[in-house]
C-alpha cells in the first residue's frame, strides 16, 4: 500500500471533566475512502475539529506527507489541503451561494477588488460538476437543506484539497440525493483524494468506504480494510466494553400507567409517537443526535405545539400549552443544555431551586426567604450537593453539581413524571454515579422517569424499557429481557 497522506499519532484532547480524545491514531490514504465509526461521544466530531484547526490537540502529532505539522487555525488546514464538510450547518444564510462558496478563497481582479463575475462563473462550474441546478446568486437561506449541503461541497472543492473530510454528509439527504452523493464521493476518490467519511449508517459504510477506523469513548479501537469485517464486527467494536460499568439500578415496583401518549405528531420534527409510562419506571429514549427525542420531550412539556395526537396524565387528558401547565399537572422537564435551558447561572443555588414554586413560598407577594432556604436545604441534602453554601452562585459549581441543582429545582415541585434529557452529558464519573443513584431513588419513591440519553451504557444500565427513535419516529422498543447493545445500535442507525 502507498504512504498515508495524513497520519495522526497519539492525539489527545481534554475538556474540563471529559477526555474527548485519548491517544487516538488515524491514517488517510490517497484514493481511498476511510470510514470513521463510533457511538455518540466517541470523539469523532472532536477529531474533525482537530483536523480542521478549530481545536488544538493537547498532545500527539499530525503528519502530512510524513512531515509533522501544527494546525493553529482554520486557515492552516486550508494551507495543508484539508477541507471539511461539517455536520452542523456552518454556512452563511444571508450570503449568496457564490459568496458562501468563496467565503475564504476569493478571486481578485486587476484592481485588487473581488472579481464577482469570475467567481460566479467558477461557482457555476463547480455546481455543474456536482450535477445540481442552483442559481449562484440566490441567498443561501432560500435553498433546501440538501442543496445547502451541496453548496458546502462546492466550497470544499473550490480549494484544491487532497484531503476531504465529510462529517455525516448524508444525515439530511433523501435516498436519491444520497445516491448522487455516493457518485460524487467515488469521483473524488478516483481523482486521488483521501476522504474521511464519518457515518453512523452501516449500509453506506459498506457501500462506499475502503477502510475503517473505530473509536470508542475517545479511544482508538481498531482499523483495517472494510472487506475484512462484517457489520457485526463493527458494532462489537463500537459498543464492546470489557468491564461493564456499574449502575446503581434500584428495582422499583412498577405499577400502572401514569401517562399515555398516542400518535403524537409534529409537522416537521416527529410523527406517530405512541407509548405508555408506568409508575416507578425509568423509560429510556435512545437515538442518534438529532433523532427528534428532545423535540418530543419539549412537546410533552408544552414547549413545542403538536399537530395531532393525544396525551393522558394520571388518567386525565393532558394538553399543556405552556411549561407552566405541565408543571401544574405534575410533569417536569430537566433539559439537556443546563447552561441555557436549565439553571440561571448567575443566581445563587437556593433561588434556583425555589424558582418554579415562588408562588407557594410567598406571603402577600413577598418571598419568605426562611422557607425558601428550608426547601433548598432539603433538596440539596437529598442530592448530596457539594457547595460551600446555598448562597453560592450556580456558575461556580461543577457540571455535575449544576445538574443536581437543576434536578432539585424540579423535584421541589413534587412532580409525578420527570423527564431528564441527557442527564449526565459532560459531567464527571463521580457526579454521574450520584445522578444515577438519585434517579433510582426517585422511581423507588413512586415517580416515573423518562430518560433521554445518547449513552448506550447509561440507557442499558438504568432503563426498565428502551424506546429507540430514528428520524423522528419510534423504530424499536426493548425491555430488560431482550435489550442488547447490538440490537439498540442497529435500530438507532436505521439499519
Amino acid at each position: 500500500m502507498n504512504r498515508p497522506v495524513l497520519e495522526l499519532r497519539n492525539i489527545s484532547k481534554t475538556f474540563p471533566g471529559v477526555k474527548a480524545l485519548d491517544g487516538v491514531e488515524l491514517q488517510l490514504y490517497p484514493g481511498q475512502v476511510t470510514a470513521l465509526i463510533g457511538e455518540n461521544g466517541a470523539g469523532k466530531s472532536t477529531l474533525v475539529k482537530v483536523l480542521t484547526g478549530i481545536y488544538a490537540p493537547d498532545g500527539g502529532d499530525i503528519l502530512i506527507d510524513d512531515e509533522p505539522v501544527t494546525m493553529a487555525a482554520a486557515t492552516d488546514a486550508k494551507r495543508f489541503g484539508i477541507s471539511a464538510i461539517h455536520q452542523e450547518a456552518v454556512m452563511f444564510d444571508e450570503l449568496t451561494v457564490t459568496e458562501n462558496i468563496f467565503i475564504n478563497n476569493q478571486n481578485r481582479n486587476v484592481f485588487g477588488l473581488l472579481d464577482w463575475p469570475l467567481m460566479r462563473k467558477r461557482a457555476k462550474t463547480l455546481l455543474q460538476y456536482l450535477d445540481v441546478n442552483i442559481d449562484p446568486d440566490l441567498p443561501l437561506r432560500e435553498l433546501s437543506v440538501a442543496h445547502k449541503h451541496l453548496v458546502s461541497f462546492a466550497s470544499a472543492l473550490s480549494v484544491n484539497s487532497n484531503i476531504v473530510i465529510m462529517d455525516e454528509p448524508t444525515a439530511s439527504l433523501s435516498h436519491h440525493e444520497i445516491q448522487e452523493l455516493y457518485r460524487l464521493v467515488r469521483r473524488l476518490r478516483d481523482e486521488g483524494k483521501a476522504i474521511l467519511f464519518i457515518s453512523h449508517k452501516f449500509d453506506e459504510i459498506f457501500e462506499i468506504c475502503d477502510r475503517y477506523t473505530v473509536f470508542r469513548d475517545g479511544q482508538f479501537v481498531g482499523s483495517g480494510e472494510i472487506t475484512d469485517v462484517t457489520q457485526d464486527d463493527l458494532v462489537a467494536m463500537m459498543v464492546g466494553r470489557t468491564v461493564q460499568q456499574v449502575y446503581p439500578k434500584i428495582d422499583a415496583e412498577i405499577g400502572d400507567a401514569v401517562m399515555s401518549v398516542e400518535g403524537l405528531s409534529h409537522p416537521t420534527e416527529f410523527a406517530d409517537i405512541t407509548f405508555d409510562l408506568r409508575k416507578g419506571e425509568i423509560l429510556g429514549f435512545y437515538g442518534l443526535v438529532g433523532a427528534g427525542r428532545s423535540e418530543v420531550m419539549q412537546a410533552l412539556f408544552g414547549l413545542t405545539p403538536i399537530s395531532s395526537g393525544a396525551m393522558h396524565l394520571n388518567g386525565k387528558p393532558f394538553k399543556p400549552r405552556t411549561p407552566g401547565d405541565a408543571v401544574d399537572q405534575g410533569l417536569v422537564y430537566v433539559p439537556e443544555d443546563r447552561q441555557h435551558q436549565g439553571a440561571i447561572l448567575t443566581l445563587p443555588i437556593f433561588q434556583n431551586i425555589t424558582l418554579p414554586q415562588l408562588g407557594g413560598l410567598s406571603r402577600s407577594g413577598f418571598i419568605d426567604m426562611a422557607r425558601e432556604y428550608d426547601v433548598a436545604r432539603e433538596y440539596a441534602t437529598r442530592l448530596q450537593l457539594k457547595a460551600s453554601s446555598l448562597s453560592e452562585n450556580v456558575e461556580n459549581l461543577s457540571g455535575g453539581n449544576q445538574q443536581k441543582v437543576v434536578i432539585g429545582k424540579w423535584l421541589a415541585t413534587n412532580p409525578n413524571v420527570i423527564i431528564v434529557d441527557e442527564p449526565t452529558k459532560g459531567i464527571d464519573i463521580g457526579s454521574k454515579a450520584a445522578v444515577h443513584k438519585f434517579m433510582g431513588e426517585l422511581v423507588a419513591q413512586g415517580l416515573s422517569v423518562i430518560m433521554v440519553s445518547s449513552e448506550l451504557p447509561e440507557v442499558m444500565g438504568m432503563a426498565d424499557r428502551v424506546i429507540v427513535m430514528h428520524e423522528g419516529r419510534i423504530v424499536a422498543r426493548f425491555d430488560r429481557q431482550n435489550m442488547t447493545a447490538e440490537a439498540i445500535v442497529t435500530a438507532a442507525t436505521g439499519a
Binding site: 452542523e88 454556512m91 452563511f92 444571508e94 464577482w116 438529532g290 423535540e295 428520524e471
Partner: protein
C-alpha cells in the same frame, strides 16, 4: 422555504421600499410647499443630512458584526475640539491636513473601542457606553468647558465643508464619496465580505478561518475614522466647538441603521439601506417644519417610524428551524 407573501417581498427589498417612501414624502411635501422641492433647497437638506449619512453607513458595519458603537457622537465632539484647538494653535495648517488629522484622531478613538471588544472581550455596548462618557469628558478637560468660536477659527478651516462644486457643498460630496467607498468596501473586498460573514454566523466564520474579533476591531476603526472626520466637518460647518457638540447624535445614527433594515442581530444590511435610513430621518427633520408640524410631532413620528422598522426587521429575520422528518413525509 421562500418568503413569497406580499409583506415578505416588500421587506426583502427594503431599499426600494424606503426609496419609494422618500419619493412619496417629497411629492407630498412639494404639493403643500413647492419651494421645498426646488433643487437648491433639496441640496441644502442633503447637506444638512450628510454627516448622518456617513455615520450611519459606518455604524452599519459595526452593527453587521453584532456590535454597536455608541461613542460616535462623543468622538465627533472630542475630535472636533482637538482640531479646533489645533487650528487656534497652528492657524497656518491647510484644511486638508486638518481633515487627515481628524481622521487619524478618530481612528485612535475607534481602535480603543475595538481593542477592548476584540482583545479584552468586553461587550461593545458596555465599552462604547463607557467611552461615550470618557471621550466627552476629555472635551471638557481639553477646553476647560470653554467654547472655540468662529472668530478664533481661520477662514480656510471654516471654508472646506461649505465650498461648493457642481451646486453641491464639499460636505455633500464627501458624504457621497464615503458612501460609495463603503459600498465598494462591503461588496468588493475580502474584509467587507468577511464582516457580513462574522456577523451572520460567527460559528461558521470560525470554521471558515475568519477571526471574528479582528473584524469587529476593523469596523470600530472605520466607525472611528468616519466619526473623527465628521468631527472636523461638524465644528467647521457650525463654526463652533464646545462640550455638547452632537450630544445624543449616536441615537439618530443607530435609528437610521434600524430604519434602513440593518439587523441589530448582525449579518444583514446594505450600505444603501443605511444611507436611505439617514436620508429618511433627514427628510423628516427638514420637511415637517415646512408643512407646519411642530417639533414635538417630529420626535413622535421619528420614534414611531423606528418602532415600525424594528417590527419589520424582526419579522424578516425569522429563520426556518431544522427538520428531522424526511421531506417525503411532509
Amino acid at each position: 422555504m421562500k418568503n413569497t407573501s406580499f409583506f415578505g417581498k416588500l421587506i426583502s427589498h427594503r431599499e426600494w421600499l424606503l426609496g419609494a417612501i422618500i419619493v412619496l414624502m417629497l411629492v407630498g411635501v412639494g404639493y403643500t410647499a413647492p419651494f421645498f422641492v426646488t433643487p437648491s433647497n433639496l441640496a441644502e437638506a442633503f447637506d444638512d443630512t450628510s454627516i448622518l449619512i456617513m455615520l450611519a453607513c459606518a455604524q452599519m458595519l459595526v452593527i453587521l458584526t453584532r456590535c454597536i458603537d455608541l461613542s460616535v457622537a462623543s468622538n465627533i465632539a472630542l475630535t472636533g475640539m482637538c482640531v479646533a484647538l489645533f487650528n487656534v494653535a497652528y492657524p497656518e495648517t491647510p484644511a486638508l491636513v486638518t481633515l487627515i488629522l481628524s481622521i487619524g484622531i478618530g481612528i485612535v478613538l475607534g481602535a480603543f473601542n475595538g481593542v477592548l471588544v476584540w482583545l479584552v472581550g468586553i461587550p461593545s455596548i458596555v465599552v462604547t457606553l463607557g467611552t461615550m462618557s470618557v471621550y466627552r469628558g476629555f472635551v471638557f478637560l481639553l477646553s476647560d468647558g470653554e467654547w472655540v468660536n468662529a472668530h478664533e477659527m481661520t477662514p480656510q478651516f471654516l471654508a472646506l465643508p461649505r465650498a461648493t462644486f457642481l451646486d453641491l457643498t464639499v460636505l455633500s460630496w464627501i458624504a457621497i464619496a464615503v458612501t460609495l467607498a463603503l459600498f465598494v468596501f462591503t461588496r468588493f473586498t475580502k474584509t467587507g465580505l468577511s464582516i457580513f460573514a462574522v456577523g451572520g454566523n460567527p460559528k461558521a466564520a470560525v470554521y471558515s478561518g475568519l477571526n471574528v474579533g479582528k473584524h469587529q476591531f476593523i469596523t470600530f476603526c472605520i466607525s472611528g475614522a468616519v466619526a473623527g472626520m465628521c468631527g472636523y466637518l461638524w465644528v467647521s460647518r457650525y463654526a463652533v466647538a464646545y462640550v455638547e457638540v452632537a450630544l445624543a447624535f449616536e441615537l439618530q445614527v443607530v435609528a437610521a441603521c434600524v430604519i434602513g433594515g440593518i439587523s441589530i442581530a448582525g449579518g444583514i444590511g446594505t450600505i444603501w439601506g443605511a444611507a436611505l435610513g439617514a436620508i429618511f430621518l433627514g427628510l423628516i427633520k427638514n420637511a415637517l417644519p415646512v408643512i407646519g408640524i411642530s417639533p414635538f410631532w417630529q420626535l413622535a413620528i421619528s420614534g414611531l417610524v423606528i418602532v415600525l422598522a424594528v417590527i419589520i426587521n424582526s419579522r424578516s429575520e425569522k429563520r426556518g428551524g431544522r427538520r428531522i422528518l424526511r421531506e417525503a413525509h411532509q
